[in-house]
Symmetry: C2
Amino acid sequence: MAKIEGVCREVCEATEFVAIVTSGEAGPHLVGNWGDYMRLLGIREDIIVFPAGRYRQTEENLRKNNRIQLLVASKKVRGSRSPGQGCIIDGTAEVLSTGEIVEAVKAKFPWARGALVVHVEEVQSQL
Amino acid sequence: MAKIEGVCREVCEATEFVAIVTSGEAGPHLVGNWGDYMRLLGIREDIIVFPAGRYRQTEENLRKNNRIQLLVASKKVRGSRSPGQGCIIDGTAEVLSTGEIVEAVKAKFPWARGALVVHVEEVQSQL
């Protein structure tokens, strides 16, 4: 199982936002979250947590198909040939509304209705 | 048909990167491109162009299902309640390898094998 380390950790530490894709009956569903929010909750080696505000469609999609993909990117991290690197993070996820992780999220984001918890399985740098 | 204007244009002018999602047999396919590259090619009201380096899976997906979604976001643009705004841009797209648009892309990005041309249909601010 891949981990958030090396260049991908560098990109996670630098990305301004995160693109989050789930799969629904109507096709891919794309939402975003802020890199700052992800970092404030602490990026573990194989778990990434986001505060969930709305994410109703994301939650519904994950209930039927728990696969998720994230894209993080930053010009501040050097790619193999030029400045700028992106990483695709692949795994499974769930939207939680109770429990320890949710309490930690609500302590920092009082507006959150829950937590989007991503279990990282694969990490691929792009450039 | 929605256009790239107002807050969405502001976000397009500010976003560091762009998340690009197409739909394939294996599910959603997520790739990225740089905001700078999109801006260098000129963001028209209803057409966005990216240099295509690899994008083989994206191209294959678009041949069977030409729907595409983009996410752009920036903390520099004010959302309705706090700093930071994101926009989902929905439309159709194709990867072109010849023609006027491709010549314009190659003049600025000699490494490009073609152009990813997005025809914008819907624009939604997120925050």
